[in-house]
């Protein structure tokens, strides 16, 4: 891999892996537990700023990334115990405002974050621009592999089974001895930790972040579309969905610059109407 591949494809690959991480992460809470979370942007932005601020104070890059993951996980745990007592739509709405609140906090904490002026992240010392691009591709690949490993382990464990029970009938799961709040919080932590790391890697990759960029609500919406596109609750669905989504996004972006958000919206509507269980449902329906 990618010696001689041009910069565009490397960039696209890194973005693809990042989307994969976002989609796989959302799958823990949205797919497995059935709780439509809009908190991805909050974890992403929090991770990006945690990583950037840590590097600003001199921490090595990889340590800063790990710290970002830990911050996102802790935040998810605290947020989860507060929000996951709410069920269904109430939780969705509550999770939606979290990114907005964080963005305002980051905006006003000028000393630490640079506020609206944004924050520069030190550029790693490397031989060439191409080496840098390759480095961040592999870094994002590493995060994606970790996330995939976590999905694999979770799906074959008591936690994954309990989450499926919650998704199907939460009251019944409760009655059967599933500590539902704890299980949902665990799913929420898993949905936050890798997104936090991905946010920090992203920040290092693009060298400069500002609140509207990393707390963009699209970071919450895109993973949901990807997972629904691929198949919620499944192992490969989120990855397939992320690949499909990025392809569509690239095609539409390049060819219909002025209407691309409209096309994205149309895609979501079609998806909900005709493919509520995702692409993988075709295969399942046949068997």
């Amino acid at each position: 891999m990618p010696t001689g591949v041009d910069a565009y494809w490397l960039r696209l690959g890194t973005t693809m892996l990042m989307y994969g991480v976002l989609a796989m992460s959302w799958n823990f809470i949205g797919g497995m537990a059935g709780y439509p979370s809009f908190a991805s942007a909050a974890f992403f932005g929090l991770g990006a700023y945690a990583g950037a601020v840590a590097q600003k104070y001199g921490l090595p890059m990889v340590v800063a990334w790990s710290l970002a993951g830990a911050v996102a996980a802790l935040f998810a745990a605290a947020l989860g115990f507060a929000l996951l007592r709410l069920r269904g739509h109430y939780f969705a709405i509550a999770s939606l405002v979290v990114a907005e609140v964080l963005r305002e906090i980051v905006n006003s904490a000028t000393n630490l974050t640079g506020g609206g002026m944004g924050l520069n992240i030190p550029v790693p010392q490397m031989a060439s621009i191409a080496d840098q691009a390759r480095f961040f591709y592999y870094a994002m690949l590493g995060v994606a592999v970790l996330a995939f490993g976590a999905v694999l382990v979770t799906q074959r464990s008591r936690l994954g089974f309990g989450l499926r029970c919650i998704q199907q009938n939460e009251s019944a799961a409760d009655m059967l001895g599933v500590n539902t709040t704890l299980y949902k919080v665990n799913a929420f932590i898993l949905s936050g930790v890798f997104v936090g790391v991905a946010g920090a890697v992203y920040a290092s990759w693009v060298h400069y972040i500002e609140p509207p960029d990393v707390f963009d609500v699209l970071y919450s919406i895109k993973p949901i579309v990807m997972v629904l596109l691929g198949g919620a609750g499944t192992l490969f669905g989120p990855l397939i969905g992320a690949a499909l989504f990025l392809s569509l996004e690239e095609l539409v972006w390049r060819n219909y610059l002025s209407v691309h958000t409209g096309v994205l919206g149309l895609l979501i509507v079609l998806l909900v109407l005709f493919l509520p269980k995702g692409i993988l449902a075709f295969r399942l329906r046949r068997t």
């Binding site: 464990s157 008591r158 089974f161 309990g162 499926r164 029970c165 199907q168 009938n169 009251s171 019944a172 799961a173 409760d174 009655m175 059967l176 001895g177 599933v178 500590n179 539902t180």
Partner: protein, 246 residues
């Protein structure tokens, strides 16, 4: 006999409505108790407050010597209090086997893996659902779903089994089948509290009957004395009928 479940002065209010008020009830290990009463008497509320779904607003619930008044439903399940629902509650998209495995896993205390599945299959054989173990729960008939509820209840390895109208909606052959099952469960030493409208079932099965009316316990005793108790007749059929028959 030792006491398994002890309710002392238990009340549950919903706003101004007293669903259950200052109720005392003691259940011994191995008893099969019928809980009867007109619609709205507070029978399901009573089960809900034993299992922590709607904790008591006053009074205490003790289970196996432990104060469990404030417990969560999942804690009740792990302590050995299992219930079936009046309106059956399967995990619709899971197989019948997975449904029962979940019960064995989370309440029955078995580890994740094949042993939990093997145990679940045993319970399915016991209730006669082994043939449909691989089918999705949503494809079962009502009678089968009721039996699935029983299998789930058993897989939880309960000390106390609360059955909320397991026979509602079944025809008489199915009821006979369910009766035989419940009797077999009782023979294993499981204490059972059963809510039931069908007197045939209650009279056949129970060693003791308690009667709820407007959230209060109005009678408790062996089946024969209960059906002759004027307060019970009055609660069910009205004062005029009760006066006329005495």
């Amino acid at each position: 006999m030792t006491t398994l479940l002890q309710l002392s002065g238990v009340s549950r209010h919903f706003g101004g409505l007293k669903a259950v008020s200052s109720l005392d009830l003691s259940v011994d290990r191995g008893e099969v108790i019928g809980l009867i009463g007109p619609n709205g008497a507070g029978k399901t509320t009573l089960i809900n407050l034993i299992t922590g779904v709607h904790p008591a607003t006053a009074g205490t619930v003790r289970f196996a010597g432990e104060d469990v008044t404030r417990q969560q439903p999942w804690q009740a399940a792990r302590r050995g209090i299992a219930r079936t629902f009046q309106i059956v509650q399967p995990f619709p998209e899971m197989t019948v086997l997975e449904n029962v495995t979940a019960a064995a896993l989370f309440a029955g205390g078995l580890a994740y893996g094949e042993r939990a599945e093997a145990a679940a299959l045993e319970h399915l054989q016991f209730v006669g659902l082994a043939d449909v173990a691989g089918k999705r729960a949503s494809t079962l008939t009502l009678a089968m779903r009721k039996r699935l509820e029983l299998a789930k209840g058993l897989a939880m390895n309960p000390k106390l089994l609360l059955l909320d109208e397991v026979n509602a909606g079944l025809h008489s052959t199915e009821i006979d089948h369910a009766l035989a099952l419940i009797r077999a469960i009782a023979a294993r030493g499981v204490t059972i509290l059963i809510i039931e409208h069908l007197m045939k079932v209650v009279l056949n099965l129970c060693s003791r009957i308690v009667v709820l009316h407007h959230g209060e316990l109005i009678a408790s005793g062996d089946p024969q004395s209960i059906v002759r108790d004027p307060r019970v007749v009055q609660a069910y059929l009205g004062r005029r009928y009760a006066d006329a028959s005495h």
